[in-house]
Subunit: 339 residues, 4 copies
Amino acid sequence: MLVVMSYRATPEEVEAVVAAIEAKGYTARPIPGGERVAIGILHNKGAVEASHFLGFPGVKDVIPVTRPYKLVSREFQSEDTVIQVGDTPVGSGHLTLIAGPCAVESEEQCITIARGVKAAGAHLFRGGAFKPRTSPYSFQGLGEEGLRILARVREDTGMPVVTESLDTDNFDLVEEYADVIQIGARNMQNFSLLRRAGRSHKPVIVKRGLAATIDEWLMAAEYIMEGGNTQVILCERGVRTFAHHSRNTLDLSAVAAVCKESHLPVIVDPSHAAGRRDQVIPLSRAAVAVGSHGLMVEVHHKPEEALSDGAQSLYPEQFEVLCREIRAIFDVFQLADSV
Amino acid sequence: MLVVMSYRATPEEVEAVVAAIEAKGYTARPIPGGERVAIGILHNKGAVEASHFLGFPGVKDVIPVTRPYKLVSREFQSEDTVIQVGDTPVGSGHLTLIAGPCAVESEEQCITIARGVKAAGAHLFRGGAFKPRTSPYSFQGLGEEGLRILARVREDTGMPVVTESLDTDNFDLVEEYADVIQIGARNMQNFSLLRRAGRSHKPVIVKRGLAATIDEWLMAAEYIMEGGNTQVILCERGVRTFAHHSRNTLDLSAVAAVCKESHLPVIVDPSHAAGRRDQVIPLSRAAVAVGSHGLMVEVHHKPEEALSDGAQSLYPEQFEVLCREIRAIFDVFQLADSV
Amino acid sequence: MLVVMSYRATPEEVEAVVAAIEAKGYTARPIPGGERVAIGILHNKGAVEASHFLGFPGVKDVIPVTRPYKLVSREFQSEDTVIQVGDTPVGSGHLTLIAGPCAVESEEQCITIARGVKAAGAHLFRGGAFKPRTSPYSFQGLGEEGLRILARVREDTGMPVVTESLDTDNFDLVEEYADVIQIGARNMQNFSLLRRAGRSHKPVIVKRGLAATIDEWLMAAEYIMEGGNTQVILCERGVRTFAHHSRNTLDLSAVAAVCKESHLPVIVDPSHAAGRRDQVIPLSRAAVAVGSHGLMVEVHHKPEEALSDGAQSLYPEQFEVLCREIRAIFDVFQLADSV
Amino acid sequence: MLVVMSYRATPEEVEAVVAAIEAKGYTARPIPGGERVAIGILHNKGAVEASHFLGFPGVKDVIPVTRPYKLVSREFQSEDTVIQVGDTPVGSGHLTLIAGPCAVESEEQCITIARGVKAAGAHLFRGGAFKPRTSPYSFQGLGEEGLRILARVREDTGMPVVTESLDTDNFDLVEEYADVIQIGARNMQNFSLLRRAGRSHKPVIVKRGLAATIDEWLMAAEYIMEGGNTQVILCERGVRTFAHHSRNTLDLSAVAAVCKESHLPVIVDPSHAAGRRDQVIPLSRAAVAVGSHGLMVEVHHKPEEALSDGAQSLYPEQFEVLCREIRAIFDVFQLADSV
């Protein structure tokens, strides 16, 4: 971290900042410049409160230099993490497809969709039993009955299942049934939930918050890893911007940036990013082309009757097209990688 | 497009809108509803200026769809809600000041600050015992010991205390000690927590999420009211934008908009919006001038030693200046209201 | 809310939407128009899920108001526009590569880079003679001398040249030399410049503004077409968001959305979106995969000596990799299209 | 500026960066840290291309330390600039009110509004003769006839007039008639127009761009000052965010930040920020309370017939209320300042 002093800062003000840095157990290194002084902070361990020194007299700005995360970082582990979910590897060199309806509605619905997406090439089945809904009056999911349906889907199709845990109260229950536990975008900074996930032995998908920087997203993963669970999958699902031609703005540069910073697998959810069916296939192609390790896609055999998010769910036959196209792109990309 | 008339609109006002629509070459189709008239606009060619009819007498809004909330709405309850916290009313016609440190650090720290802010004019004391932190390595609060300190502050000063609940696990504990329970910005869509707050008998402050629309923010309050707790206070604390001259962008138009839509009290947290001390007093003045029912401000007697958010905490003497200035502005504004 | 049916919607599809509206307890009011049917939704209580009906067969959109543009719209011209630049077609079914340095610095620099990018597969050469710079103290371009250098590049390599016009004052001059005239992101709503471009006989690239909605972007193109110039190419180059892991956030859903709304070609500039070299190749792959009709990429043989934007310029050998990879993806995508 | 090296950077890579810095005529100062090296750049004059060094091998990040502007900065001139427009001072210690219709529509309209706003307390009259419109099909202003009407308003009321120049082509004409020339938000980075304004002898209002950082906004002012015109007034008018309860999000922290960074006067346009009449008075109060040196407000005697922006225009009697309220707040604030 760098504390930049005002050009009018007195030597006493510089001294006071140096003293405060050292009182916190860090090393202060003043850097006299042409017009002003900056003070570098070297710290042995732990994070420096980024804004702490902003309030000191004579301080103009405080600039973070190093990243706040550790365990998720490539500086901690340079080789890619690959997570095994049943027979399916998630991460470097693999393209993992997770598909299914937004919400578990019935066994018949789930089995129908699951067989369809498996035939098309999906590896994991997704479906929400506990649904985070903006309105208290919307369908909130089937709860434990939904989890039991997911278990029957797994039995029927052999596909591992992905489902969301909304809070620490239902985490145990979700953990009992799920093969992969999802933490939703709105819970990305629900630190109690992250801590609980850190004590789980199941892989966890952490979706990026609607307005999360990649530092904050990686810090959410850091909470889980710090708790002892190293099986973390990141999922980009669009951020909120002024644009309204899609529900959120899918940020594919985040995939490239995170792959550079972190060893964890990164997948993309084009369905929630788009919020509308007609953009899901093009965005899926783009996600694979940018280097995503997988996709999580909403598919429904009767989207017009879906209890939630029908407008963004693909028809099964569209999902087949999607699989074909991204597989071909992935092959190209893999080839390119080895050039 | 739908032009929604005020429920008090006269037949003449409806006629005038219809006439204006047709004067522009469109077809107007009035749709009489239960409570009000809406007017559909059919247009042959060219664009309708979306906001054009917003300015007509009797027109309430020009919209694609009505609002998703009910209980929090002025259509459900037209008069302002005023919430009583001990001797302190929060809401219409009152200006409530909540002040204290970001985190409870020690009894001495809290008592010192509490006496100072009370003398300056604060009504409620704030301090975090459980802290939501971006990093798992940062100070996470004193927990129950922090709550006990808050109880002693209340005993010593007579001030009711405001503190945050992070999750359903610690809600009972927080509820036992706190006079007002805060739900933080990162938890605004933690629906389990909102539901638990809906079963509480204590007033709840709901901070606006970093990227929340006012519809989503009001829906968070709706969750609580739907659960039976009508004592909800909204708190604007800045949203995340591209701007970086302040930590977040304080959105004061949200205060004006929410006061129009909802009967609930709305306060402003200038400290988290600014993220830097030098903007807190100007933004506090602006918040009161726009019509906020109160402020929540961070104050620390030794901000340079604070365990969190020191850079944005006011010195006690600055808080005195703040109180003086906003009180004067509030008096003007009240006067204006009665003109 | 208004559910707008596709102009090809069958009476059965209209009926299905009406039935679905009523099944939800709302009243449906079909409004037959000149070209299509729209269905107004009257609802007694509760909220209509805005996007719910978007997924129905025959439904084109669910909207408050129709689009403001005309000439650029697919409703005006359903088949794709293909623009001929010398021997190079731009638009549907073609993948056009525009490459070159940010700024024209010298004849030697331009010829060297131009020969390199041509060999790698570029069709058009780009280079700025007049540069829009945030600072008045930065290098502003070589002006007319830069244009003369571009002419010599064209002579030497046979490549048509793309360069930016900053204002109506220099438009004549730029028009004299350039094969394609670029209007930069900061000028997207410089309406005088757009009008002048509308009177040009040269193709015009309109870059999307940093905070432009696609409606505004298409309206900028509408200004040019309204003036009589039908040769407009749209260029997505990232929008400004809170994210700072890339200079701007590349919005690839905009490409999908614009291709649906408009018949004009859409290309992508990954260099300005990323602002850093290491994201340019991944974002280029993604852009082609999403369906972009081309790319505009910055390449410099000595980026560390470039007078502007060196950090985002590819080395010539990286551009070769890029060409190989995107060509392969484009082939896949074309194949998929014909499935 | 600080170049942060990767922790794996070799001594040779550090050396290469140092050499490149010095080859550009700057001084490089390596700062060895615990885990990595950072290199400070000290520069005598001119701006360092912020991203230039990002592309070097071994470089992890490049962090700007000092501000890019000079003449507009308080480091260049510490005392506030006060600009004289006729009898009206704009800047420190004064509260200047600019009011009038969005567009000049007729002499009768302008004289009527001008007399009304003058009586209420406005100092300057505003009205657009050349209008920047998103659509080529919208009313574009009366042009020179509009300027002549403004001149007659000035003659009739004695009020100086403010009007916008859209481009270098019409600048001479606007300059001939106007007392203050406005550069609109969409033209904030129209550098040709800024340069022309720099050669003017009339005061210039520079509106903040929809997605402009305050650095970019101040750089726009720097262009004008660098050209020799020191009479620059900054105008905050809201930025574009995801929020849609107001047309733009008024960013009042920008006023506080700019007043600290720059000696130039800063005013606020609440009308374009809000886009709806009912927020204009509350936001005006807030703007004055935060420390704005003035307001620019749209007023129309028949807003429902206005040719543009009627929905956000105040009725004259509302403007009277506004004047009364903000004057009272300003008095409080001035008092507070002297405490």
